[in-house]
Symmetry: D2
Subunit: 330 residues, 4 copies
């Protein structure tokens, strides 16, 4: 059931409907379309029996048929980019910022390729405590200067509350990593900033849990959430994780949020990145985030998955064709 | 390590090399390219230490670098179609053949859409013993007559040895279903026929296990094997199974066999079929198999996933654009 | 909902109820207790709304509360053993029968340990077509003679219809392997024999699918089905598969069939077998099937998982204590 | 390979060995036994080829055979309890602290059952932002007073750095939840406290990743880490998650840390808790953590999985028998 509230509905009226639904043991997903709050009941309309919300204050109408009601598509504006529009959001850069020289080389090459957003990690959330930990705030500063020199936007992962201020200072988009997808305090904190947030899907998170995590950010008042699919954990070991290509459609059916795909972390080798990228765009993704490095063989982390800039440039040419076939552009 | 045997190598020489590799606890994948048998060592070259096969009788050369050696691409010819070529293999039809009238209606519509291969099940391998079981040999006969009237090829699942003769009589391509992917007797039996075999991936099969099953068919002398990805079983319940889009690249790296994708069984609803289809083609699939039905709402099985012919026709138009972007055609 | 039919209910009356339930899009699990057919509705009573079957011919009563209605416990009698009783069913032997000498040595040792049922494979359903294939009918003959000499019962896997007659001739219990759990023709064929069937769970089968496969055997009139849990496929690679210890309780709640556990196939090493065995018995399993070999280091297959007889004997001593704690005996 | 360092080895010498191993692309797990640092090479000794560490400064010896070298068993002392000893660690209490009255009732009942550690959540890390959030610091205060009145120890989850001081003030054991298993900043922070830490396994974490997370705590100097298995995410939906019973043996082989099992979160219903508990103890677990509530039907969270105190008391009686069979006590 989707309940459409009146434009004039008060927060209290909306809350009363949510609580009533909760009494049935059901959940709610809240979206706003054209000034109306839409409450989508999750967990199975069956439990509602013959109940309807039609006499509750603030309710305009409701529908049992969710088949053809796609949530309104949301675009996220950042520095002149419209993420979620027909222009694909292309992000690239190294998994880890390694040196001033390399990040400047990266920025120069991205600029040449026409890519507008540079990513780079500065606090590595490594599984092992003995791995390289990143350049921390110094890395973020380098990322910013390199980006500024070439007119790029920046995105980097916020690994904990302690690094949030620094990340907000140097980055245009804050990334929440897969391991932190259910770190609710962190979600709430980025939800209170005025920065767009790229929320990666946890490796064992269902689409519904991922959207629940997005909700933690949205309800703090930050409506600029970008979802990022990066593969789920399955029994298959031929790849590092399994890109859930259908999740692009699932989130489109359940929310209006833009969704991009990061194929590099799933790929066992950079050779898999092009096909996963093209597939993602053909499945309707709003963009891509690609690991790229001036010299992949020398990368300190995940060197096998990183593309060189010549590989990246060639990939973008292929993406351009698929985008065109989809009525979009790069 | 890939070991290239001489064109003149005898079966005994090849067997000796395979046995020697086996002593290291490693496996072999055998392919034939341009008259040479290629033996790809599986399980990790590390165990070979400094051993090389170079002095063994029949060995021409070997290489340790599998990075840039893609197996030669194989095409499967059937009734004028070249599956695995730049022309996509498009298959459609109902999951289950329900009546003479409906299968003729299907054939007529496929013909209009330009689809050359009709699928239709006649022995339903249902999980529950109480479900509809199919029209059995009568259904296969109907499939054949309908196909003949409109100049189509046919594909249908062989569910056991007992049905093989009938299937071979009425079908141009024999399908092995996901549940039978490791039914080795059945694999051997279809390997002895002169019909192309479409081998579906088991829902819990790794790419390597799937290729091992293909090997069971190939080694009986039947070289016309077409792989079909149909989704693997994961924790995600938003879809019925998770299409492993990277498997298309994995099988391309490990074998030359053509691979098509069946998106319908994974889809929770027909609305997911178009995006999964486009993604598959963009990822490099050699074709698609789509559930289509004259009137999905009345289908006896999986009605939610089946496309109507108008939906199918629209999908093919979209596929055409992606195919074009990939340098292919429908 | 569980519907209890009258003792006098006809097949047609039962069929009418099943069909009516099917119209709601729900399934049925059928069990017989004390002469009454019980129909358990599967898929969610919610869809039934306010409908009840109470006025349908042949219905005695129905209950909505499945909480405390455990299906009646079934025991399977074979050669003086009561599988499913308070006496645990202990099965051991080699994965593959390798030679007359070794299988006689095995039988002698099992006899010494007090184990009454010997297993041994004779047709290896290997993933790779190049692995050792077993001694086939000759192996079954050896298994039988060795068993007879020491008064043991035998169990061996039937890999296809072609081997069924031979297996039925030499074995007291027919085993259906995990790969064949949904080979419905084979299930129906063993369902027509007068031999007890041990049905292994497929590596990607849910408990419900496993019980559906059991139903394929039961409905052919063979009521002697023994379930065997052997681990499911998950992302974890520390073990070969993940023993689903809760499945013992799940099948107990949903059926009365006896369930044993085969821990060896899941174990990365024989060292894991004792803890998995004890856990299984403590979780309520009706027995164990253990890989054991006169000399594990020389075993042709899965040597790391096989126990020596001294290890087996020590394990049985530990099992005895847990059995005692559970009010059972070995 | 396990490398045993001299007792006199310096941090620099140990670091040099670790770095050398890293150059092979391999990892290290570090444990300390009897004053010696043991470095276990992870990722496959094969890559080391013929290299040995024997001439490196600070190395005492090394062994290639890890078969029979179990890490030394560690016990964690807290308030007179020795977790990891032959006396099982029994923890029980409500998932969420709901009121002063209920938590005192809980403490009284646990005391009667002979349970020495009470759990209770005060900051609910719910997937949905609209669910009940817990009583926060007020709840922790109640937990402490109730525990003090009945001489119990307390454990509660620390959901973020902001709550750490409060948790450390009121709790004897700090719990890290499954969702935070890879929240490295939080792991480091609890690693700096003087409180024992119970580290739950993430639902998609391999055993190795779980132990890597434990390492994050250990290397900060806090050696009192207790592992807690609570089920992993698989395709099976008959249970909420799949208890990985073999993980108890896996962590025992790879570390000396005590491991307990929390069966309640995996159980679809409280009826599953007893069998999962007995299985865990039989598999070698060092204890159990059980959801218990004065009146499960009224519980605000997960009411179906919580045991009443009469059920809990009955369960403990059964555990006692299994413990006895294992040479342990409750």
């Amino acid at each position: 059931m989707i309940i459409k509230m009146k434009r004039s509905a008060t927060g209290e009226q909306i809350g009363t409907v949510i609580n009533r639904i909760g009494e049935f043991g059901l959940g709610i997903r809240m979206t706003i379309t054209d000034g109306h709050t839409l409450l989508t009941v999750t967990g199975g309309d069956d439990r509602l029996g013959t109940w309807t919300p039609i006499h509750m204050p603030g309710v305009e109408s409701f529908t049992l048929d969710i088949e053809h009601v796609l949530p309104e598509k949301i675009t996220v504006s950042v520095g002149g980019q419209e993420i979620g529009s027909d222009k694909l959001c292309m992000i690239a850069g190294p998994r880890i910022i390694e040196s001033e020289e390399r990040i400047f080389a990266t920025a120069r090459e991205l600029h040449k390729c026409g890519i507008k957003i540079m990513r780079g990690g500065s606090y590595s959330p490594n599984t092992s405590p003995y791995a390289f930990r990143g350049l921390e705030s110094e890395g973020l500063r380098m990322l910013r200067s390199a980006a500024d020199q070439y007119g790029l936007l920046t995105v980097s992962e916020v690994v904990s509350l302690a690094e949030l201020d620094n990340a907000a200072k140097y980055c245009d988009i804050l990334q929440i990593g897969a391991r932190n997808m259910q770190n609710y305090r962190l979600l709430q904190a980025v939800g209170k900033t005025d920065k767009p947030v790229m929320l990666k899907r946890g490796v064992a998170a269902t689409v519904d849990e991922w959207l629940d995590s997005a909700e933690y950010i949205l309800r703090e008042g930050n409506s600029r959430v970008i979802l990022c699919e990066r593969g789920i954990r399955t029994f298959e070991t031929a790849t590092k994780s399994t890109i859930d290509i259908a999740a692009i459609t699932s989130v489109r059916e359940k929310s209006g949020l833009p969704v991009i795909v990061d194929p590099s972390k799933a790929a066992p080798h950079g050779r898999f990145v092009p096909s996963l990228s093209l597939a993602s765009v053909a499945a309707g993704a709003d963009g891509l985030m690609i690991d790229a490095h001036p010299n992949p063989a020398e990368a300190l982390s995940d060197s096998a998955q990183q593309l060189s800039f010549s590989q990246l440039s060639k990939l973008i040419d292929s993406v351009r064709y698929i985008a065109l076939a989809m009525g979009k552009s790069v």
